[in-house]
Symmetry: D2
């Protein structure tokens, strides 16, 4: 089928390739003219026939909001917008309402798989009305991995449910990564296991902890067995924070996901103000030795 | 090759099957005569020719210690004992030393895979001298999953390293399970995603969180979509505790693994004494409403 | 000086007493006519002379918002409203802006001390312009504990800072209470210390952990040495959640405060869905025994 | 009464002063001749009349073990040894058993108060037989703070209970300090409260969070309002680790105390191996930007 695709960055570019390989006709637009098929969103709208389907794949927040606004102007009643970026689920309500003013339908989709999705396919979680989700199914089928549809795609619920599912997926991901990371650090810190990379590689098959993330850790250790070339500095991109906020809103204890998020926060601190306060307290009550700042 | 196998419970029984299917000659001994091939450990020793290799697969602690003691008596210098149960790595030193008094060699092996190992093969982590590990390699090759040896087997280090690696493996496992579990609870508690089992099933392919544990969660939700038939009561079998103790001994922060362990402790409490104390404090300072015990 | 006081619940009622005992003229209004001095907020406004100062002490959220609305109508330019309830700091901006439309000034005050404040005095944290804070200082001086002003009162910053300070104060409070509670549980669970209440009471003087909260725990244990009459069920009233949200907004790791909040969430669950999921996973991979739900 | 005192470091020296000020006759021994009253433990034993009481106040572990050994030789049946250092409670069993071989009695005492104890008195928790504890009561009364005995002293239980109580006390202390520290960091990180030291000082009276530790934090901030002169590097001295180990042994969830311990571990790491692993994973799956090590 025909698809308009706004945003041809790392993810969008790969998705266009995968969709075209599956026989779909994709008209892509990006501000970067080098990769764009058309000169503007208006041109993109003009290039699509009949009831149009346009997929948004730009950074969440303002860029997505502005794209929704442009599409509200360029598209017509009955057209369908699919938001496949990392929007917060609460944004989806606003996007859908804005487009509904012009009779335009809306589906949000959480997309997982990273740079590997281009070849492996992407895990997809969709939110929206059933008819709208069904309409885009040929696209979803082309993007998701091979195998049974239900193992790589879900209609998770109404508008917002796709990004909510992706948010929780990412929260879990934080926890999984931290679990492996703690195990790696303990193996490396103790001197009992003498071949840490080989030990972790041996978990690839048969064990309870085998996973795709483990495979990636094995790859990383193949390249750099002690991870000497990296700093322990880790960014976070929103979904982890939102997951914790939602766990608070729903009074759900999420100590593992939250610990993983806090570990990222701490990884980015040059020095910890909290631990300065603890050092100050110990100094006050016990005359315990403290380390003075260099400054 | 020939192998003596002490302990034919759920794990040992399956391993005998898998080893025999691979063409090895296994003489099994168990206190339960219904499954045992011989009447005693002495008989087992007598049934093996040349330099003997005997695998122990009984519960850790006293049963393993007693078996080591019996094997020290029944075996001869040059024989090899492989401890494949869930011993604490510190026990391995003692086992090896006891057997060394009689010139008997010792290798410890961490075995992962649960009931699925019978068909999938088991992930194996071995500790001991290289010559001893090599000697048992035909057995390891039969037990581990198909594929490259290094993806299902590692010689992790000297005596104790196999169980140390398995201990850390299990600590990671605690963290992974808790991460999925928190995500499941949040999805179930919020009302945004309306089809939780389908959403989790859609993570099976292509996503960052795909794993064998996820596949098992999908299976569990296929059988009981809201997990209504289970209580949130979870045992722990030692390795999680040892992992945290070792993280303390090595001053390694392991908030995720520890949170997962504490969640299990809490799951087994009828009521929390700590939270009684918090309730008592709130009652004291603020006249906040408290819930009285039924008793 | 003269003060209007809206809200004569547990806190407001006590504050009126304390202010009158200090020689101030307080006109109190409450929907409950039994405790109210006047019949309406309009009457309260009419009963005050010159530039009026009115203190709000009603539940946060809608009740406070409605009271601000009523005061916007009843008061005049130059009057001052002090919000002493547990409003979220972001609400203060809205209250101040609404009142500023009518030229009315606004100060927010965080108030700590619970039911004991009536006799001990209340710890106070104020947010607003310096001139406004100074104007209300006689009231603050009467409410705060005896001793140097700076040990029971702070001008924390602009509008919102008073409630922000109180929010963080309460987040810390969550952590402190949980720390004592965990220690209590460990003492009670192990059998080494045979007289737990006496041990905790001995921490009242001289030790590093002595505090007012400890004194309250001692009182609670004097009344009920094993806290048998309470359930481990603990509510939360907002500030703890907001503290964690703010820690996330500012990328500040707050594992202790967050753990204390999550322990409250868990205390209110009949059964843990997350631990059901962990039990389900263990059952799937290891055939581990699970506890079936009664239902 | 007469007391032998072995160990005249910071704590022991101050205690000798306080005991002498209370009228007791103290014979102190230290390896440092400058502060010692006698030349050896043998001389100390010789300088005491009748049934002797000797207090040990040296570092825990080997120094305490060696002192116990020397006292076993120097003292006689019926004499009493009081171990007032920071021994692990399990050591007390060994010390008591060793001394009992020679008929010497043993009491362990947890001592809290730091450098301030010299003037304020020390909080004391004793473990041992009632008759032995009673015999040393004049010493305990002189060391503990003024006020009712039960507010600064407890007979916590049999041998080991004193140090167990002190261990839990210190675990709680870790949690309390971390709670204040997290609140401090959040106040400092957000820009809502503009006068952080004044705000914290205002918690000194009337508030729920007032405590001696808060008073010390106020002192520290008086001296250095942004704690600029300190590094966020915090040591740990054993009791926190033992508390977590004991919480694991007793299946008691202690997330707050454990989080505080882990924060100390993390504070001493130049870089986090775990976070390197997380960075490596993100790099693998998403091509996320990582920070390269300088090395």
């Amino acid at each position: 089928m025909q698809l308009g695709l706004v945003g041809l960055g790392r993810m969008g570019f790969n998705m266009r390739e995968r969709l075209r390989a599956a026989g779909h006709e994709v008209v892509g637009y990006d501000r970067n003219a080098d990769v764009s098929d058309v000169a503007s969103i208006a041109d993109l709208a003009a290039a699509l026939q009949g009831e149009r389907v346009v997929w948004i794949m730009v950074p969440h927040g303002d860029p997505t909001r502005e794209t929704v606004e442009e599409l509200a102007a360029a598209l017509s009643a009955g057209d369908l917008v699919i938001e496949g970026g990392n929007s917060k689920f609460t944004d989806d309500q606003e996007h859908a309402a804005r487009l509904a003013e012009n009779g335009i339908r809306y589906v949000d989709v959480g997309v997982s798989g990273g740079v590997w999705g281009a070849t492996n396919g992407y895990g997809l979680m969709a939110g929206g009305d059933t008819a709208d989700v069904e309409r885009a199914m040929p696209i979803f089928d082309a993007l998701r991995p091979e195998g049974p549809r239900e193992e790589g795609f879900a209609h998770a619920g109404p508008v917002g449910a796709g990004h909510y599912a992706k948010m929780v997926h990412n929260g879990i991901e934080y926890g999984l990564m931290q679990a492996y990371a703690e195990g790696f650090e303990l193996l490396a810190a103790s001197d009992v296991v003498t071949d840490v990379p080989a030990t972790i590689k041996a978990w690839s098959r048969g064990t309870v902890v085998r996973s795709w993330l483990l495979d990636l850790l094995v790859r990383a250790l193949d390249e750099d067995p002690e991870l000497q070339e990296l700093r322990g500095w880790v960014s976070d991109s929103g979904e982890g924070r939102w997951t914790v906020e939602e766990s608070i809103n729903n009074a759900v204890p999420t100590p593992v996901i939250t610990s993983a998020l806090f570990a990222r926060f701490a990884s980015r601190q040059e020095d910890s103000p909290a631990m300065k306060a603890v050092a100050a307290l110990r100094n006050q009550f016990g005359g315990h030795s403290v380390q003075k700042s260099d400054s």
